[in-house]
């Protein structure tokens, strides 16, 4: 029996641009997933704790302020320290393509850039999270 995919959509750091995060959270809900949106101004610690408490399968991080190289790997690191490295972390926002290899090396599995559709993200999650 398949259970619903649980997703945490989070905004780390000081960036307050949440249009994308909110639209994606809603699209994922419409696609049948359980989605928790953290709101803005979350520390990496708060995000990792929420992910573990909510028992999510996957975390989507949104950052448009250019602080992604510091913040995204921190979330991955804290999840690992707390023994939750099976939670997949992906991200999006304003992220230069040249930063993607470094982010992937730090454990962020996928990065979505401007122009990506909610369909792309739904598909990515459905293909990468096991539900049975």
């Amino acid at each position: 029996m398949a259970w619903k995919i649980r997703v945490l959509i989070a905004k780390p750091g000081l960036d307050g641009h949440d249009r994308g995060a909110k639209v994606i959270a809603r699209a994922l809900r419409d696609a049948g997933m359980e989605v928790i949106y953290t709101g803005i101004r979350q520390t990496p610690e708060q995000i990792a704790n929420a992910a573990i408490q909510e028992g999510v399968d996957i975390v989507g991080l949104s950052c448009l302020s250019g602080a992604h190289n510091y913040l995204f790997p921190k979330v991955v690191q804290i999840l690992k320290e707390k023994g939750a490295e099976d939670i997949i972390v992906f991200g999006g926002g304003i992220i230069p393509v040249d930063d993607i290899p470094g982010l992937k090396k730090a454990g962020i599995r996928e990065i979505f850039q401007p122009g990506a559709s909610t369909e792309d993200i739904i598909k990515y999650i459905q293909e990468n999270v096991k539900t049975t």
Partner: protein
């Protein structure tokens, strides 16, 4: 005695009848004008049944209906029938006179072009100062400061929450020392400066006044703006610090301080831009912005200020999006509606209190990372709409801003876009040229009508503050954003290069990057300032500020005192955090 026109007309008719076939000309018979209204309706219906029907019975139009971003139906054709109830003197009037539909100034751009004011700032004050000098050299006519997020949210560059954020989205300002560097070599008595700063607006304004003072420029002559619009921070932008009531107190303290100390300074830029960027429609942009404006005016009046003593220094800030006609109509509707609100609701007596003066920025959310040169064209159309809408000041986005802050080359093209409109297109040479267009006037009326509906709804909720605390405004914005995205993904709405006319392409690589050394450099600079200043004096000023904040004294003078003693932005903000508490999003 025959009138001056009669011989001319007779002559004209005679010449025309001789030289042109009778069937080709229709010399106006002015007696017909009396029954023109009836004729138009009959003629329109006849046209629909014959000429139009011949075409649409064979070929359907591209869409079953065409709608603006506000879901307003765009008719196939607008005629005098649509504007039959427009009373020219009541609804349009003349530029520079109530209700200001046609512009806040009688000569508009014939007297003075809009201010070309490119929003700029990144990394350190030194680097941003260089960019300001470049922009001024290239012909921009006003400065606009972008601050980094720590500065906007009251954190110094060495605060744990500032890590990774220093200098990224704007310039890092920790103390007066940074501000001195930022404006080095810039004559503050000659250049006006707009600062996009909200929760920490009082601090940055105080720094600006202090820097000017050091340059021998009195605060009374300073020209500029602070955004200082905290309500939209809760609704859409996110750089709030303190809870709403305490934040409103700071805002009204600034109004009171500025009316005497900086009478030429715009104390607030009531903004719709950010809510539009967050996804709301043009109608919502007008409605929510003006509802916020109403809340500010009410707060100032409650704080004991007479409406005519501060209202002329309120300014506004709008987005300019893609739908050309809707945007032009939107600006005109906003002007007329605000004038009516100030006169009828707040009983303002001065004309200046009723003028909606505004800055415009072209829509960042319309830029694509795909085929970025297309953005130059988008921005050109948007900028043109803003000029035809009568903006006082304009920022044009750069082609690479879906990727990063603009490079020098990209921002030069953006500035040239404004200069091309100003000097080559001719639209700046007459006032409100599109007035009278059946489409423009109908949409102006429609947008005003729909915005009023929203404002009345917000009134029944208890005003904008309540509407934000309950999440109503955020919900409307989010709903519009979601619908827009769905339209794009279902291809109901075409975005060139995204869901149609795509190409195989590499992402842009030549983009502006903020060097990681910036954060370290800024922290070192901050540490030096803290060592070299009179720390006892700093503590005195912060105590005085705390006392004022906990009481009813205006907080701006103690902030000015602290700033001059080189207290840091973080220290001042934290003092206010102790007095006011912090806002937590629900």
């Amino acid at each position: 005695m025959r009138s001056v026109t009669q011989p001319f007309r007779a002559d004209f008719r005679a010449k025309a009848l001789n030289y042109i076939p009778k069937s080709a000309i229709r010399i106006p018979n002015y007696e017909d004008e009396v029954i023109m209204g009836k004729n138009i309706l009959e003629e329109f219906e006849r046209w629909e049944k014959t000429t139009l029907n011949k075409v649409i019975s064979k070929t359907v139009e591209r869409e079953p209906s065409f709608k603006t971003t506000s879901h307003i139906e765009m008719k196939r054709l607008y005629t005098p029938l649509d504007t039959a109830d427009v009373d020219y003197c009541r609804d349009l009037g003349f530029p520079g006179e109530y209700p200001f539909t046609r512009g806040v100034q009688p000569t508009m751009y014939r007297g003075r072009l809009w201010t070309m004011r490119q929003y700029a700032g990144f990394a350190t004050a030194e680097e941003t100062n260089k960019r300001y000098k470049y922009l001024l050299e290239q012909g921009q006519t006003g400065l606009s400061v972008a601050f980094d997020l720590p500065t906007q949210i009251g954190y110094d560059s060495d605060h744990p929450l500032s890590e990774g954020e220093v200098g990224k989205v704007g310039v890092a300002i920790d103390t007066l020392k940074d501000m001195e560097i930022l404006f080095d070599g810039i004559p503050l008595d000659k250049v006006s400066t707009s600062m996009t700063i909200n929760s920490t607006a009082a601090i940055l304004l105080a720094m600006y006044i202090a820097v000017a003072e050091k340059k021998g420029v009195k605060s009374e002559v300073l020209q500029g703006t602070i955004q200082n619009d905290v309500l939209k921070e809760y609704a859409a932008r996110g750089t709030y610090i303190y809870p709403p009531l305490e934040s409103m107190r700071i805002v009204t303290d600034i109004f009171a301080f500025c009316k005497d100390q900086t009478p030429r300074w715009n104390t607030i830029s009531i903004s719709g831009y950010h809510m539009r960027e967050a996804g709301c429609t043009a109608v919502q942009e007008v409605a929510f912005t003006l509802a916020d404006g109403i809340a500010y005016v009410e707060a100032a009046i409650r704080a004991g200020l007479d409406v005519d003593s501060f209202a002329s220094r309120l300014a506004f800030f709008f987005c300019c999006h893609n739908n050309f006609i809707e945007e032009i109509a939107k600006f005109r509707a906003a002007r007329r509606l605000w004038a009516r609100i100030m006169k009828e609701r707040f009983k303002a007596k001065r004309d200046e209190s009723c003028m909606l003066r505004f800055h415009t920025q072209t829509a960042g959310c319309s830029l694509t990372a795909q085929q970025p040169d297309n953005n130059v064209v988008r921005v050109a159309f948007q900028a043109l709409a803003a000029v035809l809408g009568g903006t006082q000041s304009l920022h044009t986005n750069s082609r690479d801003e879906a990727y990063a802050l603009p490079t020098e080359d990209s921002v030069r093209i953006a500035l040239r876009t404004q200069q091309l409109i100003a000097y080559e297109s001719g639209v700046a040479d007459m006032v409100d040229p599109l007035a009278g267009s059946y489409a423009v006037e109908t949409l102006t009326n429609e947008i005003e009508r729909k915005a009023v509906e929203y404002i009345e709804k917000i009134d029944t909720m208890g005003g904008a503050i309540k509407a934000i605390e309950s999440g109503f405004i955020q919900g409307e914005i989010g709903e519009s954003a979601y619908q827009y995205q769905k339209e794009i993904e279902t291809k109901k709405r075409t975005i060139v290069g995204i869901n149609q006319f795509q190409i195989e392409e590499e992402p842009l690589r030549d983009i502006l990057r903020i060097r990681p050394e910036v954060e370290r450099y800024q922290k070192e600079k901050l540490s030096r300032v803290k060592k070299e200043r009179d720390n006892a004096r700093v503590q005195e000023t912060l105590s005085a500020l705390k006392k004022a904040a906990q009481g009813t004294e205006n907080v701006v003078p103690p902030i000015l005192g602290a700033v001059k003693a080189y207290a840091t932005l973080g220290e001042i903000s934290d003092t206010l955090r102790e007095a006011f508490g912090e806002y937590k999003e629900r």
